[in-house]
């Protein structure tokens, strides 16, 4: 695309800079204010880490963080196993039905609120006591879809003849999977797992509807929602910064291991 005039290229550069400014200034301001000394949440008065210290002493936030970690880890492990098997199963099929594709794709496009109320109705109709376990059951649903999508993208360029070779040489299906297939698709599996972990850590709406009554199953996003309704606080700025740091780290890792979210 070398035919564009310098003026056109300059204005496209300005557009891009403006969009990045729009995307990153709000988050940047939030992060900067989390290191703010003073009690006023939005007026700068010097650098300090004290709000991070006060987070570490807040029992409610710590227990919510622990809940989120449990939900994210368990749902990631289950979804990674099921999603990877699903991806392999779909890719070795010769005939791919439209209904199957729709079923696999659906969790990504159903509005969260719909899945949330559907699961709430379902669990209450079955008289299931809701808590962290029901959040895990729910999070696995959308995480399967994302893991499967990432692994399938990798399998598109997979050389199936090595699998055949292994079988021809007498290896069992399990051995072939463990020694050949899995090591070859490992980057995509790990990247998918990191993506699932991030999605689960950040997910609010479905968790909010499937957590049941009581504070014991409050996750971090639910805690953050409650805090936001209370207003802007320096402690919340610090918490938000930490959550952003976790997401960005997991995604950068995922992207490094396997180009996941952008080509």
């Amino acid at each position: 695309m070398a035919d564009r005039s310098p003026a056109t290229r300059r204005s496209l550069g300005v557009v891009l800079a403006a969009v990045f400014a729009f995307l990153y200034i709000p988050i940047g301001v939030l992060i900067a204010l989390s290191f703010n000394e003073g009690g006023l949440p939005t007026v700068w008065s010097g650098f300090s880490l004290k709000w991070y210290g006060s987070l570490a002493a807040n029992g409610q936030i710590l227990s919510a963080a622990l809940n989120t970690l449990i939900v994210a880890l368990v749902s990631t492990v289950i979804a990674t196993a099921l999603g990877t098997l699903l991806a392999i199963g779909v890719e070795i099929r010769r005939r791919k039905g439209k209904a199957l594709e729709a079923l696999i794709f659906a969790p990504m496009i159903i509005p969260d609120i719909v899945l949330a109320i559907a699961l709430l109705s379902f669990f209450s109709m079955l008289n299931v006591t809701m808590g962290l376990h029901t959040i895990v059951l729910a999070h696995v649903v959308f995480n399967i879809a994302f893991v499967c999508a990432v692994v399938r993208a990798r399998l598109k360029s997979f050389d199936w003849s090595v699998v055949e070779a292994s079988t021809d040489l007498g290896a069992s299906a399990l051995t072939t999977f463990r020694r050949i297939t899995l090591p070859m698709i490992a980057p995509a599996v790990i990247a998918g797992a990191l993506l699932a972990f991030t999605l689960s850590v950040d997910e609010f709406i479905i968790a909010f509807f499937t957590a049941g009554a009581g504070r014991s199953s409050t996750t971090l996003p639910m805690q953050i929602y409650a805090m936001i309704r209370f207003g802007v606080t320096p402690e919340l700025n610090a918490l938000a910064t930490l959550v952003i740091a976790v997401s960005v780290t997991a995604l950068a890792l995922s992207q490094r291991i396997n180009r996941t979210i952008a080509p």
Partner: protein, 294 residues
């Protein structure tokens, strides 16, 4: 594809995931669909007699007003997000090839961070003591701080901010796939930059853009977090109505009918998009054939 990998093995591999999705997505969604046809019980439960009154309620003037208003807000947010997102995607696709992955990554990265925090960032910016008020003071404004938060503008800004990365991604794919020779041919034949964009680039990339727009619209209209946090509860979207029916008013059948309406809007828009895209494709290949014969 491997001949030895028998289809029955494929079924075994898919079974656990498909069972999970069936039990915890298909069945619950079917349940909600069924719920929408039942009556609300006297004490908030569900009375299992068939009725269509939930759908009739949804088009009642009171709720129809909320539907229309939330469609207007979601429509505005979608329009702004698509215009800005398309411009950004166009700029990325025009950047040197080796820089494009980084730019795209930077544009999409915010989308994968916490939705609540991205919304909260706007409360920090827009509240009475926020950065924008302070900027106004700094340039000499002394009056009462303007109320920027809890306005329709704040809700729209929040929606655009949250979904813009998604639009950039949706617009980038068709723009990057576009054959640059088409543009060059148009320029060689004397088409101005604007004509080339209007007659070549835009029509060829529009179907992908439209698919992105449908999702932004549906996610916006079904949102309850942004109107609650940035609109201060003064603006109701369909998402807020659904939320209220399930967690406050305890009218689950009506909430279910509203959720189904949301899904119906999404399906209708996606089908419309697919129809328009296939027609556009047909027209292009016909024109291509005619050009080939001529």
């Amino acid at each position: 594809m491997a001949v030895k990998l028998v289809p029955s093995r494929s079924t075994v591999l898919m079974a656990p995931a498909l069972a999970w999705l069936t039990a915890l997505m298909v069945v619950p969604c079917a349940l909600v669909l069924a719920l929408a046809f039942f009556r609300r019980g006297i004490y908030g439960g569900v009375d299992y007699t068939f009725t269509l009154e939930n759908f009739a309620n949804a088009v009642d003037p009171l709720y129809a007003g909320i539907f229309l208003n939330s469609a207007r807000i979601a429509g505005l947010a979608t329009l702004i997000a698509v215009v800005v997102g398309y411009a950004a995607a166009y700029a990325i696709a025009a950047a040197p090839r080796h820089r494009q992955p980084l730019y795209l990554f930077l544009a999409v990265l915010p989308f994968w961070s916490n939705y609540l925090i991205r919304t909260y960032a706007w409360i920090v910016l827009l509240n009475r003591e926020g950065l924008l008020t302070q900027l106004l003071r700094w340039v000499g404004y002394t009056g009462e701080p303007p109320s920027l938060l809890y306005t329709e503008g704040a809700v729209i800004a929040g929606l655009v901010y949250n979904y813009l990365p998604f639009v950039v991604l949706a617009c980038y794919a068709p723009l990057a796939r576009l054959n640059p020779e088409l543009r060059e041919a148009s320029r060689d034949l004397g088409g101005s930059a604007l004509t080339t964009f209007r007659r070549i680039t835009l029509p060829l990339t529009l179907p992908g853009v439209a698919a992105g727009a449908v999702f932004v619209f549906v996610l916006s209209i079904g949102n309850f977090v942004t109107p609650a946090l940035l609109g201060g509860g003064r603006f109701q979207m369909i998402g807020n109505l659904v939320y209220d029916q399930f967690l406050a008013a305890n009218d689950w059948p009506f909430g279910a009918a509203l959720a189904m309406a949301l899904i119906a809007i999404m399906m209708a828009l996606l089908m419309l998009q697919a129809f328009a895209a296939s027609r556009a494709e047909g027209r292009q290949s016909r024109e291509g054939e005619e050009a080939g014969r001529g």
